[in-house]
Structure formats: structure tokens, C-alpha cells
Symmetry: C2
Amino acid sequence: MPKLEDVAKRANLSKTTVSRVLNNRGYLSQKTIDKVYQAMEELNYHPNVVARQLYKNKTDLIGILLPTVANPFFGELTAFLEDDLYQQGFKVLIGNSMNNPQKEADYLQQLLIKQVDGLIVGTHNQGIEQYHQSGLPIVAIDRIMNEDIPVIASDNYRGGILATERLIERGAKKIIHTNGPNDLETPAKRRREAYEQVMKAHNLSPITYEVDFNITPADKVKILRRIFLEHPDVEAIFASNDTDAAQIMQIAQNLGRQIPRDLLLIGYDGTQIVRELLPQLTTVIQPIDQMAKKSVAVLKQRLAQESTKKEYLLPVKLQEGTTG
Amino acid sequence: MPKLEDVAKRANLSKTTVSRVLNNRGYLSQKTIDKVYQAMEELNYHPNVVARQLYKNKTDLIGILLPTVANPFFGELTAFLEDDLYQQGFKVLIGNSMNNPQKEADYLQQLLIKQVDGLIVGTHNQGIEQYHQSGLPIVAIDRIMNEDIPVIASDNYRGGILATERLIERGAKKIIHTNGPNDLETPAKRRREAYEQVMKAHNLSPITYEVDFNITPADKVKILRRIFLEHPDVEAIFASNDTDAAQIMQIAQNLGRQIPRDLLLIGYDGTQIVRELLPQLTTVIQPIDQMAKKSVAVLKQRLAQESTKKEYLLPVKLQEGTTG
DNA sequence: TTGTAGGCGTTATCAG
DNA sequence: CTGATAACGCCTACAA
């Protein structure tokens, strides 16, 4: 690997001059510029990014810490984030915590150490201390971390209202909701709040099933199946996400219940892929693209030491399918 | 940010000694070790990764260049790759080319420059010169690049046979196949070869529709719809991937054709998410986990300057749903 | 318009 | 067992 010095020697110039050409800084004669470019060509020279990073004390790298890009929501989110960040001159380091606190802590420890200039987090683990003392610019997506980390989320409360009211409008009275564990401080909890408030406002009793994130698919099916066992008269389900909704569709089918005739169903997220594969599913669309864009924008503010709001809410939309 | 020197000063030692403690190298008295650790604690010191990278001339970063993690296949692949690489002590830099040659070239130029220790590529663009002269260890997934870059792929030929024979066994004669553009040098082409050979072996005429990768969803629907217009008597379709298969399901439904009664359908890929959302879809499962594992293993061989085979084929499996 | 010298934070060699 | 010193490759005051 040739270095600056090699180029300089070949062009009969100093390292400084070559560096100047590289960064077009200061006055340079055209002749010098040409000589330098020629020498670079001949040697197939490329500047060493790491050396630059060391000097500049920045890496132009942004870390993205999420449960897993295998999940459509996070996959699509990552794609949008990557695209935005790329436009802004950043590259992306990913860490998939797989809901494993150990792995998450590990990543954090490593990323916080000057490896990245900033961090976008959307993991589900609670109370990882390191976030606090890091000093690294961070934004959180759909996850409340602590006072000084801004949160980007969709308007979960409104989403909960849209879904619940729609089910009620369509005549359902016994409506069940699934959500994540209630002890997790996440904006998604507001869907549950909205659901419960709407139900009560209509004199209906809310019933929420809590489904943990990191359980096996088999266990999840078991929990969802329980809904039907424990509430055979259920008329509608507002699921916490589209894949759960899909599972519920299978289960209902196995139990001989036709959707929407015997059961109304509304999901949540509305990712591109789900809309392609299950266009019949009624769901609440989170504006993943906008969430990504906003996250990057807020992170840039943080990087520039500008102050930010504590929370940014993006609008949701009801996607009308045939299931609910 | 405190540095080695600060720790040294605080512990009344030299940088050398502190560095030794950090990397437990050489002989050290317990007392010294304790002092160093204490000083590090007090200062909340963390070694600067970039400085290390510069000295060691390696980053422990692996680049993954793919069309987009928003696609379930690549999303799941990325998740597995990340997990494997993490186990091996690497971190992952992603680049989503979005099938944009400009962006891909851009990424390459940047990544090849000592920013990553190795590269895993699965993009669809042809003839990007830089791959050749890079000298960087590279492996390609499902994509033929050039002679000295090993390819990891599933056994596409066998997949093509499994799907086609199944459709024939189930009584279909007029079977249509969709595939990517034929001028692309990709292992996926072998599915088409297999399809055409099996068809001919049964005295049936193969018909392949070529579907470009980077076209709008609307255009894709148009092409797929054409199948039914141009071949109203089509009895079965072997789609090049599951999302296309899903589209075909919608179209068939809109045209009043019941699957599997009026049309048999087999997809390809068998990602986790598709199996969850569309369990009824018969499809050929690519062993994404194994492909990831093998890619990482081969990349490690390359990094260790060991020689590798040119191609690694992993076994596929037919997932029997109800559509075909 | 170009060159010299010192530093970014770490590690390794070699001496003590 | 520990310390001084020179590298890793680049960038920028400051000088010329």
C-alpha cells in the first residue's frame, strides 16, 4: 500500500503539497496538481482512512443498534437510515442485539469508544447504564432511554385510537389487544393506553395480553392461542404488530374461524413487505421512512451540538384491508 | 477523553507499562496492575480504537455490500452474517447499493481503502472494475464476480429441479418460470437452466419471463399480469422468489383463479418471515444461515491467506405448502 | 506557491 | 519488571 510519502517522492514534492492537492486546500499550481494526480495514478494510491480518522478525531461512522435486521420493521428502518446517512456522508456500523443484553452492552462498550461519531438505538433492553455517561450523540427510535436522549417515534397513541375505534365502529364489543411487556418504558405502550381509554369511553372492558419479545415462536403461538381458549367469544383483536397478526390469522383459521366474518383483526407497523405479502391485512402504518429521516436529522443536530426536543412524533395512517 | 498518557501520569508509570497492562503482555507486578486499573477507573479511560487500528493496520471491520436489507432475504442474511462475524470479533459495516451502480462503486472505493479488513458482496450490478484490483479479501454471495473471488450460493440447480418436478408430478403441463434478466452472471440462472432441462426432459416447452430487479412495483405487477394475458391456459408458475410469488397470488385472485385448484404456484427463498406470513406457500428454502456461516468461514480463510475453493454450494429444501 | 516539523493515540523494540 | 523512543499514515501551523 503506497502512502502519501511515496506519492510525494514520485512527484518530487513534499508530503504537505500532496496532502494539499488531496484536500484542495490553499494555492497550488496546475502543474503541481497534475504531477500529483499522475503519481497517484501510477502508484494506485488511496489515502488511508484510519490515519485521517485519528487525526480528525472523527470517523464519519454512525452505529445502529437494533434487535435484528431480520425483522421487517427494523430491516426497512435500517435501509432508510443507511440511505439517509449515506447521503450525509456517513457510513453505517450495525449491531443486532438479538434482545441479548450481554451483546448489547458489549456493542455499546465498543462503539462508545470513539469508534463511531454517533449512535441510533432501537433495542428493547432496559437499564444499560453505559448509555448515560457516554457523552456520545445518541438518538433513540421508539424507545425511551433517559432524559437527555431524544426519542423518535410514530404517534402510537393515535395509532391505538385509530385501530380501536375502527373495530368498535365495525360492531365489535369484545376486543382484545396484544402488546409488549408492560414494564418496558416504550412509546409503544401508548397504543395500549389509547386502546384502554377508547374501550372505557365506550363502556367496554379492555383486555390486554402481554407478549414478551424474546420468546420462541412456539411459545408465542401458545400465548396467542390462549386468547381463543380463554375468550372464545372474542370478536376482534388489535395485535401489537403485523407478524403477530399473521400468526393470529393462522390460528383463527386452524380453529375454523373466518376472518373477518367471525373475527376482526388489525395489525400494526405496515411495513412494505407485509403489505406486499398480506395486502388483505388491515393495519396501522408507521411512517418508517419519516422516522429514519427525522432520526438522522436530529442526530445531526446533536453532532452539531445544537439542542433538540425530547420527543418527535410522526403521523400514523390506517391501512384499510379486509381483515378488520 | 483521557488517553494512555493521562492514565500513566495518574498511576506514576510510563505509557508503555499501561499499554502492557491493557494488553496483558509481558511481566507485570500485581501492584502495578492494580494501580493502572484504578487509574483507568478514576479517569473513565477507554482505549482509542482508531489509534490501534492505525498501528495494527487492521480494523476488525467487515463490509457487507448488498442491494438492501429491507428485502427479507438480505435482511435475514445480514442478521446471520452479523451474528457470525460478531462471534469472530468483527464488526459490520453495511452498504445498501439499492441496485444503483453509482452508489455501489462509491462504497467500494471507500471500503477498499483500508476501511474494512474484508468484504462480503451480494449486489447485482455487473462489471464494477474496482473489485478486481483491490487486493482486499472478498467473498461473493449468490453472485459471480470473477475468477479469484469465491462464491457462496445455495444449490440453485437442484432447487430448480425440485420445484419443476413437483409441479409436473402434480399434473401441470403448462408451467411458466420467472427469473432475473438472463444477461446477469448469477448462480440463480441455474434455476432457470434446471427448469428448462426438466421441462424438455418431459417433452414440455419451457417459458421464462424475465423480471428486472430494479423496476417499480407497478411495472412488476404489469409484467406478471402479462403472464396470464399471454398464457391464459397457464397451469403452474415457478416464481423466482417469494415476493413475486405473493404478487402472483394476488393477481390470480383478482382474476378469479383459485390456488391451487386453478393454478399451482411455487416460490423461492423460504425466508423466515415469508414462512410466517404465508405458510401456505410452497417454496424452495435457501439455507440462509448456512450461507452466512460458510461466507464468514471462507472469508476468514481468505484473511488468513489460505486458499479456498471457487464455489461453495449449500443444500436447498422444498417446503411443502398448499399452493403447489 | 511549497516545505519542515510536530502531533493525533497506540503499540513494539530495545535498553535498563 | 519498567521506561524511553520510534513508528503507524495523515494533517496543519508556521516558515520560507
